[in-house]
Amino acid sequence: MPVTSMPVTSPPVQTGTDTAAAVTDALLWVDGVTKRFGSLVANHRVSFHVHAGEVHALLGENGAGKSTLVKVLYGVHRADEGRVVLDGVAAHVSSPARARDLGLGMVFQDLRLVPALTVWENIALHAGRAGRLLRPRRIQAEIAEVADRWGLAVDPAARVADLSIGERQRVELLKVLMSGARVLILDEPTSVLTPAEVDALFDVVGRLRADGVGIVIITHKMREVRTIADRVTVLRGGQVVVADRLAADISDEDLVTAMVGTTVEAIGNTHAGGGAGRPLLQVRGLHVRGAGEGSGLRGIDLGVGAGEIVGVAGVAGNGQRELADVAVGAARPDAGAVLVDGETMPANDPAAFRRAGVCSVLADPLREFVVPGLTVAEHAALWSSAGTGRIHFDVAAAAGRVADAAAWAGLSIAAPDRRLDQLSGGNIQRVLLTLALGERSPVLVVSYPTRGLDVLTAETTRRLLLDARGRGQAVLLVSEDLDELLAVSDRIAVLAHGRVAGIVDAAGADRRQLGRLMTGAPADGAPGDGAPDDGGVTGRRMTGRRVTGE
């Protein structure tokens, strides 16, 4: 829940010069919405306008109040103050169903489809057409027609569980469009798409815009603002800091500064070159059967040398998870081995890996790290005990150590006596980073390190990774954020369908090349060069978030 306490002083609002004219003919006018949760103010007098045939980007960091705002718009939350005006008429949005009736459509970040049902069944369910009599043929024909009109190719008879994330999002869009939305709200729609899928999505958004639909796109990626947005509103700390500005009128630097509140200096990758030292972490011929929706690993060979950062890119669910698990001894491969500093490691023995000097920033802290009821200090004690082979925990000493490590790393973490499970995702991540990076172990396996972090901490984290490389640590960095991978990696291995589709030198790499590899196409393959369809790219959803302020 992105709830932010209210700042003492209001930041100055920068308003577009054309605001006065905009008010009269706005399709959607959010007028002074305030939403409080107890003593916390999530939205404070938020106002913005969306016009027909316009894409309006809503920018802000995690916790800036974007999600709360759209939930107010969509009738999930009730606003404490302010109103929502649709077509010049104050609308009483009391529930999502009412919002749909009013022509407000919402595509949530976590797509809300029933996996066991087919595409048309899902759409019928949503559009309220699952009345007494189901008329499958008619609904399917309708779907085909709408899909054709907007270029949303999808098979109405397919089961949602068998679709890729990109396809599921198309179904979600169809669902919303078929219920007659005039205002479309997209909540971070691109976070799990391949670059090609993002292009396809923006193509659809462009058509909708041309047809007079008003579109609100929530994002924190500057690139998307530049590609698709006509107008921008920036939220910080629950308040509007940039209102209704034309996207062309504001620079990237100004947008990032508005979001963060201070200027952020993006780190530049030094790409030391000079070749890596001796291989500290190697995986050889790794095969792992995929669990759940993951594709597993089908023969992976990869090495990370001392003083090297090897990035692992790929669409979620293409084997990253399995690779990271095996590399820290948390899973048993079906074939192949992991070598640390030349020694073959016993499989599925996390303690042995820790003794050998492998530390990990876990991919899913809530599932793999946080013990309900324990404090930060107790987690630190648990962390230090790993690999000692003894069941001994010195909580007091660990509290001191974790505080020292946080100070050394420049990360601010919660007090040692706070319960970890009561902290926000970003605060949990900072504790995890402090423990994993503070260890200064020879090998680091890092998964999605900047997820849930604010821009400044994310930059600090990347700097820490570069520092680790400078000290001669070997770093395996799994991330879904191509910009992050390009910023810190020496080499980037791209996983597709459980295989290494290619390893590229980060210094000379570009996004398009990586994107092609992510879909499983050969590195230098011409378009149509036997590229497999991406039907297998059904990923577990990741919510990698950060601001890319390049």
Partner: protein, 346 residues
């Protein structure tokens, strides 16, 4: 949240808890009235027949011994996330092993030696019985709630076989009973009262468990395993060994409870020697949120309620089993509270 608010929250919670328990008592009064009893007289009987008079208070304490120890047998594995429904069976095998040892030794050794031998036998048998379920869980992944529950019936059948056949008292009245424990092997009374040393042992054991769970690495590791087994595994903790050890310790406690109940109070192995206290103990542990001190408190309360049935039958002409209604209401009451508070059960 500011400290002031949190304190306020605590007050509200306390008031809510009081209201809910008063509601449970009121509901019980309604049930009593429907059965033709006078609620006021019933309440006074219940209080008088359990805690007010010396002898009955002593019986409440003595009967609380097996309940408390079997409840701790639930609490320790629960710390590691295991559900031990086998307190009943572990009480029984503890009593059976103690009977075997105690009757065999007879008066051949001094009292303290036979107490010790019986205690070790009872605790060992209980540990083995729970350990069996623990092994099935760690080696085969069998659900321990099911296996411990089913092992209760096996334990009871073994006991029945012994007292109907092999161990049947030849000089008995034909009832299926074992021979009685000789006087020298019976647990010593305290200060000339009905109370025996079992009460002190129980207090000591509960204190020890409190310390073990709270102040040792083992207790901490159990909390980690119970809270998030995946995090425990990734931290290199020996998860299986910890799970098994919690079952062994739990079983030993219940086995000891069975032994103390036999050697201090029952003195003969007979059918229903446990009075189904193993199941009441399960509820006591949950009511006490698996925290040793609270668990022992809950055991005392349940012991008193269970015993008050006798008084009701004699004085108020009600069926003694009506107290089971009160027991159920007391256990169910906190569920109403937790609906709004996520995380803590009861």
């Amino acid at each position: 949240m500011p400290a002031r608010l949190r304190r306020f929250d605590g007050w509200r919670r306390l008031c809510a808890a009081l209201l809910v328990y008063l509601g449970a008592l009121a509901l019980f009064s309604v049930v009593v009235a429907l059965k033709g009893g006078n609620p006021f007289s019933v309440w006074s009987t219940m209080v008088r027949s359990t805690v007010l008079a010396g002898p009955t208070l002593q019986e409440t304490l003595l009967r609380a011994v097996p309940i408390a120890l079997a409840a701790l047998a639930v609490a320790v594995p629960a710390r590691a996330g295991l559900v031990n429904v086998g307190g009943e069976g572990q009480l029984i095998v503890g009593a059976v092993a103690a009977t075997g040892a105690g009757v065999a030794i007879g008066a051949s050794v001094p009292g303290p030696v036979s107490w010790l031998v019986m205690a070790v036998a009872g605790a060992g048998a209980g540990a083995a019985w729970a350990g069996l379920a623990g092994l099935l869980r760690t080696a085969l992944g069998a659900n321990e709630a099911v296996t411990t529950l089913l092992l209760n019936f096996v334990a009871n059948d073994i006991m029945l076989y012994l007292i109907y056949q092999l161990w049947k008292d030849p000089k008995g009245s034909g009832q299926p009973e074992s021979r009685p424990l000789v006087h020298a092997a019976q647990l010593p009374r305290l200060w000339g009262s009905q109370l025996n040393i079992a009460v002190l042992v129980t207090v000591a054991v509960a204190a020890a468990m409190w310390w073990l769970l709270r102040h040792t690495g083992w207790g901490f590791a159990l909390r980690v395993v119970g809270g998030n087994p995946e995090a425990a595994r990734r931290s290199g903790l020996p998860v299986r060994r910890l799970l098994l050890s919690s079952m062994l310790v739990g079983g030993a406690l219940a086995g000891l409870g069975g032994m103390l109940n036999f050697a201090g109070l029952e003195l003969r192995l007979r059918p229903d020697i446990t009075l189904s206290f193993g199941y009441i103990a399960f509820l006591a542990s949950w009511l006490g949120r698996h925290q040793p001190v609270k668990v022992v408190g809950a055991a005392l309360l349940f012991s008193a309620i269970a015993l008050s049935g006798n008084g009701l039958q004699l004085t108020d002409g009600l069926d003694g089993s009506i107290v089971d209604v009160l027991l159920a209401l007391i256990v169910a009451a906190p569920l109403v509270l937790t609906k709004r508070r996520r995380g803590a059960f009861l």
